[in-house]
């Protein structure tokens, strides 16, 4: 019990260290962010010179928004394509330099621009008043004039105008402008359903779950161009679209002027409608061609996904095991405080959804610890969750060992620690093992939940392949098979180890 108290005090120290550390880094991070604004801020009129000197324009974007910016698989390699990339190339060309793309989270773009990591942002960014406080914008280079209802071509006769959607179910991307528009100005009786991904919305449309899907003009047109089963109906719902502009660090008048010149030129020639959008559509379409949407071309996606899934699984299993042992011992401890803490932990983590826990760790702890990567957050959350289940597996395994074994061992003069080590654990382990095996398999599958916070594991990659190939079911099927092979092999391995252990004990 003394040892348990020691272990516990170490744990407490660790926790308090983490918390104080987090509290310390919280303000510190803010300070450094602030200082980056004041100190490292890009000096006026220097960016254009830097571009000319280095001979390249570094464009920051978040390549997850087709057809503006997305990735294309060329011989297994990622290539950035889309309307914004076409514009970037044009601007670079007019400046007489090469164009370099830096892909990052949309949220990170502003900081990257302010700290000079990128020269411009061309990422479908709307020049909101909030953003204008920290950076400058070019003129609007493209404004979506309209939203469109995407419908099944078979329903073309049924839906001809906006009012035809009265009382119908319409899907939109959660958090998108179109979603807001329908919520605000939707028709009476119109049911608005939100999904996170356009590919899921279109699958829902095809399977009859929605009567229509409201998308912005670009998205709607490119998807319709790529899928002959879809048709478009122009929406007349009120919308307040602002359009997209190029983001530039404050005080770069010369660069803004140069960019505006290129934008003017593109608009004069109507390059967006004549060249950029068709090019983007073609890039999307190449994916939908029979020869190009074969899943073998996307092997690298699945491999990357599998790698992440395995990293998450292995790390979480290790965390879960360590926590599981600690909390099982705490729960079995005669110390009431330790026991209570363990019970609270176990009951709470088993009594709340894992998905919520993952999001809570990512967003909640992310508030304290800046730059907490989603992968780490996911591993922590799944590890914490697993710890609760492992603790119960271990506890029930230990309890399943006859009390007589403890009594016999103690009567020989062995200490409690020795009793556990030489007599209880070796016997409990055989009971714990199958339960642990189950837990590992569950955990492997549960790792798919971290796709919700954007970790590039198998489920997330499946989404990417779905978007890229316009095929909803096939990628899912492949992923299902991969998970099955993974868990099947794991089961075999666990069974093999179990047999080996049983053999060794019966021989002994």
């Amino acid at each position: 019990m003394k040892k348990l108290i020691k272990i516990f005090s170490v744990l407490l120290l660790l926790v308090s260290a983490v918390v104080t550390g987090a509290l310390a880094t919280g303000p510190a991070a803010t300070v450094s962010a602030a200082s980056s604004k004041n100190v490292k801020k890009v000096a006026s009129g220097t960016v254009l010179k830097k571009i000319k000197k280095s001979g390249k324009l570094v464009v920051g974007l978040s390549a997850d928004y087709p057809p503006l910016e997305f990735t294309k698989n060329v011989n297994g390699k990622n290539k950035y394509v889309g309307v914004d990339i076409e514009l970037s190339k044009q601007i670079a060309k007019d400046l007489g330099v090469k164009c370099e793309i830096k892909n990052m989270d949309f949220d990170s773009l502003l900081v990257a621009l302010e700290t000079g990591k990128i020269d411009v942002i061309i990422s479908g960014m709307t020049p909101t008043a909030e953003r204008k406080k920290s950076i400058d914008f070019s003129k609007i280079y493209y404004a979506e004039k309209n939203d469109y209802f995407v419908i099944n071509k078979a329903d073309k006769g049924k839906y001809k105008k906006t009012s035809d959607f009265k009382g119908k179910t319409v899907g939109a991307q959660t958090g998108s402008l179109q979603y807001t528009v329908m919520k605000k100005h939707g028709l009476p009786g119109m049911k608005v359903k939100g999904l996170a991904k356009i590919s899921s919305l279109l699958m829902g449309l095809k399977s009859g779950k929605f009567d229509g899907v409201l998308l912005g003009e670009l998205n709607a047109k490119t998807y319709a161009m790529n899928d002959s089963n879809l048709a478009l109906v122009k929406s007349t719902l009120k919308q307040d679209q602002m359009g997209n502009a190029v983001g530039v660090a404050k005080g770069q008048k010369d660069l803004v002027a140069a960019i505006n010149k290129t934008i003017d030129k593109c608009q004069d020639k109507d390059l967006f409608n004549k060249k950029f959008i068709p090019a983007a559509a073609k890039d999307m379409k190449t994916a939908t061609k029979k020869s190009n949407n074969s899943m073998t071309k996307y092997t690298s996606y699945f491999v990357t996904g599998l790698e992440y899934t395995m990293i998450i699984t292995i790390c979480s299993v290790l965390i879960g095991l360590v926590l599981g042992v600690i909390f099982a011992l705490m729960r079995l401890s005669s110390n009431k405080l330790l026991h209570a803490i363990a019970v609270c932990y176990i009951e709470f983590l088993r009594g709340t959804p894992e998905m919520v826990q993952i999001m809570f760790v990512y967003f909640g702890i992310g508030m304290l610890v800046k730059n907490l990567p989603a992968l780490v957050a996911g591993i922590i959350a799944i590890g914490l969750n697993s710890g609760a289940y492992v603790a119960e597996d271990i506890r029930s395994g230990i309890n399943s060992v006859n009390i007589g074994q403890t009594e016999a061992t103690r009567s020989l003069g062995l200490s409690q620690a020795m009793t556990y080590r030489y007599v209880i654990f070796p016997q409990a382990f055989k009971n714990i093992w199958p339960a642990l095996g189950n837990e590992f398999i569950t955990l492997t599958k549960d790792s798919s939940l971290v796709s919700t916070i954007g970790v590039g594991e198998l489920m997330y990659q499946t989404g990417l392949v779905q978007t890229a190939t316009y095929r909803g079911v096939m990628p899912l099927f492949i992923t299902m098979c991969i998970y099955f092979v993974l868990t099947f092999l794991l089961t075999r391995l666990l069974n093999f180890l179990e047999r080996k252990m049983n053999l060794s004990s019966s021989r002994a």
Binding site: S411, Y422, S505
Partner: protein, 246 residues
């Protein structure tokens, strides 16, 4: 002072139930004591209080003058080495073979070298007549054999007292004899022993003292002849009459 264990006003409650009410007793060195009495009278609880597998509710247990109930767990572990215990259900360790069962405590507690412990284990196995089973698993042995291994395991710590908790109750009748013989051999060698048993014939033959226990009290103490042939308490008379009828 010749007594190795002294028990003073020992009480043990399980919740509201008083199992041991007020036990006072002394165990002299070299004596063999059998504790008899009806089921549920607290015999086993009493025995398990002697090495503190059960924590007494109140009262004292003294081993060679040392008060056990006050001891820290480290010191208690040391004293337990001097009190070997044999259980009704043998409680051999199924994750070890027979030899390892015996070697565990000498090696881990006393730090005995492997070779020495092995030699000791073989010697003890010979003593209980089971040396040929040294590398068997406990579960492959008969109940009687398992109990003899359990006795050897307890002896490996060279205890000063042996406590037997109904050592033959879980055995098939034909195996009772071999275990009783082993215990009897041990008694002849001068080991101090406390045996809780239902084997009246054996108790009579082997004991220096017989203690009759009922209703949480030690009702009667005396030589086998005194207790079996001339019981004074009604409780003892009643109990013995029933046993003899059967």
């Amino acid at each position: 002072m010749n007594s190795i264990i002294e028990v003073k006003h020992l009480k043990k409650n399980y919740g509201d139930k008083e199992v041991l009410k007020d036990i006072n007793a002394e165990i002299e060195k070299g004596k063999v004591i059998t504790v008899i009495g009806p089921s549920g009278s607290g015999k086993s609880t009493f025995l398990r209080c002697l090495n503190l597998l059960e924590k007494p509710t109140s009262g004292q247990v003294l081993f060679e003058g040392t008060e056990l109930t006050d001891l820290k767990s480290d010191d208690l572990d040391k004293l337990r080495q001097k009190m070997g215990m044999v259980f009704q259900n043998f409680n051999l360790f199924p994750n070890m073979n027979v030899l390892e069962n015996i070697k565990l405590a000498p090696m881990k507690v006393k730090g005995m070298a492997d070779g020495e412990a092995t030699a000791l284990a073989h010697k003890l196995l010979k003593k209980v007549g089971l040396d040929e089973f040294a590398d068997h698993t406990p579960t492959s042995l008969s109940g009687g054999q398992q109990q003899r291994v359990a006795i050897a395991r307890a002896l490996a710590m060279k205890p000063e007292v042996m406590l037997f908790d109904e050592p033959t109750s879980a055995l098939d009748p034909e195996m009772v004899g071999e275990v009783l013989k082993t215990i009897q051999d041990l008694a002849t060698s001068g080991m101090t022993m406390v045996i809780v048993t239902h084997e009246m014939g054996f108790a009579r033959k082997v004991s220096d003292e017989v203690w009759f226990m009922a209703d949480g009290y030690l009702q009667e103490k005396g030589s086998p002849d005194e207790v079996f042939d001339h019981p004074t308490s009604d409780r003892a008379k009643d109990f013995l009459a029933k046993i003899l009828e059967a």
